[in-house]
């Protein structure tokens, strides 16, 4: 489905070169949920930007369903790390934006938007403006908008970082349910190893900058998963410890 071949990305700012991603090769299958984890600033967002077609790789190639990604990739829904809500639109109009672009009638737009608004727990805030929301609420609005866009692949950049533990669980549950229902492929960037193991079929650990693949770990936990209780199983604990050991090395090297 998504094929990265020896992808590297170097940013050039005058004389200074920043290697953000180096020689990443990764194949993501249809309906797979892949979590990417790695130290802050290692190049994870850059990687998603390249899959979305917003950045072009400095070398290597990215294919989406066999076709080279050269322009913006409209087959993916991208929930960026920064919330890109339109500040002059209400929450509902923001969430319904992809439907509006597709020419869906107004009443249907409102109806479908209100449905996802309820899913992400923003009921009562449909008529507020983004600057009237908390950071976590804005994130949920972005998630709702992405869900409504209904792309076959979802790219999520730290989608749940700003949420409290309770809400995080609810959102995990929602994401898994909807991904299974619609057969979505999901690429998820996160700093939360617990989250990564809970949600993913595969966890990719990145090295510190420039990002390379340090470890790929299959997560063979049965589905559907109980997002609250799966973490108390032995299988989970083993996977978690293996990954943590590898991550610790990265974080440690980062510090010295």
């Amino acid at each position: 489905m998504i094929d990265l071949r020896h992808v590297s990305k170097t940013f050039r700012k005058k004389e200074e070169l920043v290697d953000a991603v180096r020689d990443i090769s990764l194949t993501i299958a249809q309906k797979e949920i892949v979590a990417v984890i790695g130290p802050s600033g290692c190049g994870k967002s850059t990687l998603l930007n390249m899959i979305a077609g917003l950045y072009t790789p400095s070398s290597g190639s990215i294919a989406y369903k066999g076709a080279q990604v050269s322009d913006v990739n409209t087959d993916v829904g991208y929930m960026t790390q920064k919330d890109n809500l339109l500040p002059w639109r209400t929450v509902r109009d923001n969430i319904a934006f992809p439907l509006e672009l597709a020419g869906v009638a107004k009443s249907e737009r409102a109806e479908r938007a209100d449905q996802v608004i309820k899913h992400v727990g923003l009921d009562g805030f449909a008529h507020r403006y983004p600057h009237e929301l908390s950071g976590g609420m804005r994130k949920r609005a972005c998630l709702a908008r992405m869900l409504l866009y209904g792309a076959e692949t979802a790219l999520l950049d730290e989608p749940f970082a700003a949420l409290d533990a309770q809400l995080k669980l609810a959102m995990h549950d929602l994401l898994l349910k909807l991904a299974t229902e619609t057969g979505q492929t999901v690429v998820l960037v996160t700093h939360d190893l617990m989250e990564a193991v809970t949600l993913a079929d595969r966890v990719v650990v990145c090295t510190r900058r420039p990002a390379m693949v340090a470890l790929e770990q299959r997560i063979e936990l049965k589905r559907p998963r109980d997002v609250l209780n799966v973490r108390f199983t032995n299988a989970f604990k083993e996977l978690y410890d293996t990954l943590w050991e590898r991550l610790r090395v990265e974080y440690h090297e980062e510090r010295v």
């Binding site: 960026t80 339109l86 597709a102 866009y149």
Partner: protein, 276 residues
């Protein structure tokens, strides 16, 4: 160009705060003081005229009032006022539509804007008033040449502000719309224009007085009606009372226009078109 953050948005806040402060002191008292000051100044003027300064230079309030009453009685004042108002409004309309279109078009076409950049800079640096003789040649002595002068002044202000507003649009917002299959037209209509709106309104707001300047100047250069013509004509007749009378009318007109702008801005803010 004027940043909306520096101009349009905080002005009203400042006004609100100032109003609240004076209201606390009793605005009735303040108005009494202001009227008292006005009357005192008029009395000083009347007293000084003919005694301290020659009446020929500064006239006096009674003569000015008589001149105004005379023009009101024979209806000529309204004829001239209407000519100026019409030229101002039409000039504002034409100039702002032109500036808006130019600003958006160049804002979204990097190649063309770089191509035209030196020429636009040269045109902008040119004192637009110097174009007046050209407009008289092109559009004649009638109202059209005044509209053209007002429009040119407005056009550049609105253009520069709109252009800056379009260039300021957050690229991430554009990217996120494009990822959701927005066409180029949709990106312009639903992301770029709304995002540039507060800049556009700042440009429109500062250009209103310039429309009046353009109209009056145009009338002073070549016309047979309008307040600019009247002030020019009175001056050439050595009629200082007439000159002062027209100046008062122009000042009142300017105040009325500013008031109108305030009202419109207030409405816009309520509809959340301006601001965040």
């Amino acid at each position: 160009m004027t940043s909306p953050d520096a101009d349009a948005v905080p002005t009203s806040l400042r006004d609100d705060a100032a109003n609240a402060a004076t209201r606390g002191l009793g605005s009735g008292f303040m108005v009494t003081c202001q009227v008292g000051l006005g009357i005192t100044l008029l009395l000083l003027w009347q007293g000084a005229s003919g005694r301290l300064v020659d009446n020929f230079f500064i006239s006096n309030p009674l003569d000015v009032g008589t001149r105004l009453m005379g023009w009101i009685a024979d209806g000529s004042l309204f004829l001239h006022m209407w000519a100026t108002i019409y030229a101002t409004l039409m000039g504002f309309l034409v100039g702002s539509v032109g500036g808006l279109i130019l600003g958006i078009w160049l804002g979204v076409s990097p190649f063309t804007s770089r191509l035209l950049n030196p020429y636009l800079n040269a045109l902008n640096a040119l004192p637009k008033v110097a174009l007046a003789p050209l407009f008289v040649l092109w559009f004649g002595l009638g109202i059209e040449s005044k509209i053209a002068l007002a429009a040119v002044l407005v056009l550049f202000l609105v253009f520069l502000n709109t252009y800056a507003g379009v260039r300021e649009v957050d690229q991430d917002l554009i990217d996120s719309a494009r990822l959701m299959k927005a066409t180029r037209a949709q990106v312009i209509a639903k992301v770029i224009i709304p995002s540039a709106m507060s800049w556009v309104f700042a440009g429109l707001k500062i250009s209103v007085p310039y429309a009046l300047i353009g109209a009056v100047l145009g009338e002073m250069i070549a016309a047979n009606r309008g307040l600019g013509y009247l002030v020019q004509f009175s001056g050439s007749q050595f009629d200082s009372a007439g000159v002062f009378a027209v100046l008062i009318v122009i000042a009142l007109l300017a105040v009325a226009l500013n008031f109108l702008v305030e009202i419109v801005q207030h409405r816009m803010e309520r509809w959340r078109i301006v601001g965040r």
